[in-house]
Every structure is written in C-alpha cells, then in structure tokens.
C-alpha cells in the first residue's frame, strides 16, 4: 500500500541524512508522527534556526553564530598557536579536553585525490592569510591519522615550514584504558615510535 505523500516525503528527506538508511528513516518518521505537534514544531524550528544562524567564522572557519567566533574573540586564548583540524566536530572534541588554550583552524575536509579533493578544495588559503598576519609561532596539525589526514599534514608542513613556523603533528598510539593485546600492528608501531621517558 502506498504511503500518504507527506509521510513518504518525510522519509525521503530523513534518508538523505548521513548514516540513515531507508529502514532508519521509516523508524524516525513514525516516531515523529507519534509525538505531539508542539515537540515536532520545536524540532523543526531548531533545525531551521540552526541552519539560518550558522555561518563560518571568518578567522578560523569553524561554524559560529557570531563572527569572529567566541574562541577567536577570547582574550584568554594563546593566539601564537593554531591547531588545524579537518572538521568542526574536531574542535568540539579538543575543547572537551579543557587542556588546549590556543586557537583553531578548520580545513573542512582532507586531501583525498581519488575523490577529486585537492588542496584548493580546502580552507588552506585562509590559513595562509592568518600566518601572513604574523604572530603565529606553532601550527599543530591534528588531521585524522589516516592516508588523507597524513597527506594533508605533509602538504601543510611542506607549505609552512619554510616560513619559519614550528609545525608539529599530534601523537598517535594506544587509546587510554586500551589493551595492548588488542592493538593492531600499525598502532603499536606508532606507539613505540612516540614513546616517552617517565
């Protein structure tokens, strides 16, 4: 039996979201239809408002509702250190540690040649502009520890090391609370390479 048009359309839209297949879209749609109209309206408003009010910070390229963003405006942050990440979600992950006091730069992706994503597709020019303004002593490259993230880090290091900026890469190795026996060989090798005196 064909679904009523509005429900079919809702499922179609939900199925466009990342990680949501047709089955999950159906489950979410029926969940929404069971809710009272006011809570559905709140959800719809939150989505529309988040999209309407969000823009990219003109300095760090993170998502923000104010330009420059709160982190870039904060006088308590160390402006001589920039941590470079692939995605706005990565900024939130580092902020949750409460340990990092420098600024960020979001590239919005990583170099993925087979997908046709080259350096020109990323916010690298904007990072160059920030460095040209001076005052930056260290770039911490925190791109993902995979082939694309490594290629991006190598590319940035080649670009900015000659400019006299200290370029570092975040360490990689065993997860805290992890079990050595369950680590794969590549991770163990990286952990051994990055060992420190205690």
């Amino acid at each position: 039996m064909a679904l009523p048009d509005p429900i079919a359309r809702l499922m179609e839209e939900l199925a466009r979201l990342p990680g949501i297949g047709p089955k999950s879209a159906q489950r979410l749609a029926y969940h929404l239809l069971k809710q009272d109209p006011e809570s559905v309206r709140r959800l719809a408003t939150a989505m529309v408002e988040a999209r309407r009010q969000s823009r990219f910070c003109s300095v760090c390229q993170d998502l923000t509702d104010q330009d420059p963003c709160r982190i870039c405006r904060s006088p308590g942050r160390d402006a001589s250190v920039i941590l470079v990440v692939e995605d706005p979600k990565d900024v939130q992950a580092v902020e949750r540690t409460g340990e990092y006091r420098g600024l960020y730069h979001v590239l919005h992706g990583a170099i993925a040649p087979m997908d046709g994503v080259g350096p020109e597709s990323l916010r690298i020019a904007e990072l160059g502009q920030r460095l040209l303004q001076g005052g930056v002593k260290e770039l911490i490259l925190a791109t993902d520890p995979d082939v694309e993230g490594d290629a991006t880090a190598l590319y940035l290091a080649r670009l900015y090391q000659p400019a006299g900026v200290r370029v570092t890469r975040i360490a990689r190795g065993l997860p805290v609370g992890g079990d050595l026996d369950y680590a794969d060989e590549s991770t163990l090798v990286k952990a051994l390479e990055g060992r420190q005196e205690i």
């Binding site: 297949g21 040649p113 997908d115 995979d146 082939v147 490594d150 190598l154 590319y155 794969d184």
Partner: protein, 252 residues
C-alpha cells in the same frame, strides 16, 4: 557462503554506513575485490591499520550477495616511509586508482598485483618517484593490452631517436613522421624506454633529468585516459605536486 584467505593490497578505503569501512583490494589470484569491514571506524577495531591504502595484509573474507565481509586481517607490509612522503604517496595513490579503475571484479590479475607491490616497495625505498610513476603508467598500459612501441616508429618502422614524437595510443613516431607533435629529447626517450624495459628492481635508481621530466609530463596521460575511458581523479593533485619545483617534494 565462500570463505577466502588471501594476500591483498588495499587500493582504496572509504567510510561506509555508521561505523564500517568499504575497502577495494587487489589480490594475486582473485583480482579486485570489494569488501566491508564492519565497525572498523571504532577505535577498538583491530582492522584499522590493515585497511590503510597502500598496505599489504593477509585478509580473511567471507562472500556476501554483493560484497565480501572482512573477518580478519594480518598486516604484512606497512610501507611507513612511503606513507610519510608527500610525492611518493601521491604517485602510489594515482597508480592504485588506475588499477582500481582498470580491473574488473574478481578478474585474476597477478601481473598487476606484482607490478603494484613492486612499485610500492620501490617508492617506500625512496627511489625516484617520477621515474616510478612513468614506469607504472607505461606498464599498466601494457597490462591492459596496449603495450607502447618505444623503439621503432609506429608508422614507418624506422628507428626512433631524439626528436621523435609520441602518438598517445601507440608509441613513438620518428622525427620524419611525427608531423606537428612536440619532439622528445634524447633523455625523455631514454626515460620512456627505461620505464618500459628495465627489470622492476632496477627502476627509479636514476632520477629523470629536469627537461625530460617536463617533456614526459603530459605524454602518457592521454593514452591512459583513452584506455580507461576517463581521467583518474588523483592526477590533478599529482600534477600539482609535480609542477615547477616539485622535484623537491619527496619530503616536506
């Protein structure tokens, strides 16, 4: 349901679903295989390191309706130096894309597997990446069934020497037959012949001279595009790295 344990090189790896990864593998006896590694994006997954492109592992796979499922992987060669070098990794990515595009699913391709493994090994050993790139292009074309004639003019069969031209789909044209085609210098011609003829372990010992590098920059691409029916997407990035001054791009 077929269970398979095989040596394989990872050609490509991308996110799939909520926490899985989809890998494209090339194996010696089973050709190109696509397989899903369930939960491989979770930090506790033991598969992560073996799914990195340009690594060799022994995979245990179980066949499904469309895709295989990875049930285990034991790393064999990680090619760490290759992964830590910008231009060699771009060359490896480009050659792996050509292999990925040119092979059918499960068509045995032991020669392509051997060629790729050999080239990755040499790239990891820091041999000249551009010499290995040209060797990879010429030899992949030959393995696709389109070996280039680089010694005799493909039109008059006369000997081709410096000043010869390059006809994309076939090979070299002597100075008399090349017409308006750009001439290749002696170094470029020698580099092309070395790319095709040298035994694999000897490739990339000598860097290609700068002028010859410029001449060879565009001659092989059109031949590959014609055979593949498309331009490999990773070529644009590779050409960017190979641009002026790119010879120093091996290590950032």
């Amino acid at each position: 349901m077929e269970r398979l344990t095989t040596d394989a090189l990872v050609l490509r790896c991308r996110d799939h679903g909520e926490a899985d990864r989809l890998v494209h593998l090339i194996t010696p006896r089973h050709g190109r295989i696509r397989a899903v590694a369930r939960s491989a994006r979770r930090p506790q997954s033991r598969l992560t390191g073996s799914l990195m492109p340009a690594t060799r592992s022994v995979f245990t796979l179980v066949s499904g309706r469309e895709l295989y499922t990875v049930t285990g992987a034991r790393g064999q060669e990680r090619f760490d130096r290759l992964h830590a070098s910008l231009l060699p990794m771009a060359v490896a990515t480009y050659l792996m894309e050509i292999a990925d595009q040119s092979l059918g699913e499960r068509d045995p391709a032991p020669e392509v597997y051997g060629l790729l493994l050999g080239l990755l090994t040499l790239l990891d050993a820091q041999r000249d990446p551009e010499a290995l790139l040209r060797a990879g292009e010429v030899r992949m074309l030959a393995l696709m069934g389109f070996a280039l004639d680089l010694h005799r003019c493909v039109r008059c069969r006369g000997e081709a020497q410096a000043g010869a031209g390059f006809a994309p789909a076939r090979g070299v044209l002597c100075a008399r037959c090349r017409g308006a085609l750009a001439p290749l210098g002696a170094d470029a011609l020698a580099a092309l012949r070395s790319a095709a003829d040298l035994p694999l372990p000897e490739l990339g010992r000598e860097p290609i001279p700068a002028q010859a590098r410029r001449e060879l920059g565009t001659v092989l691409g059109p031949a590959l595009d014609q055979r593949l029916g498309r331009t490999p997407r990773s070529r644009a990035y590779l050409q960017q790295l190979l641009g002026p001054g790119a010879q120093d791009a091996g290590e950032p």
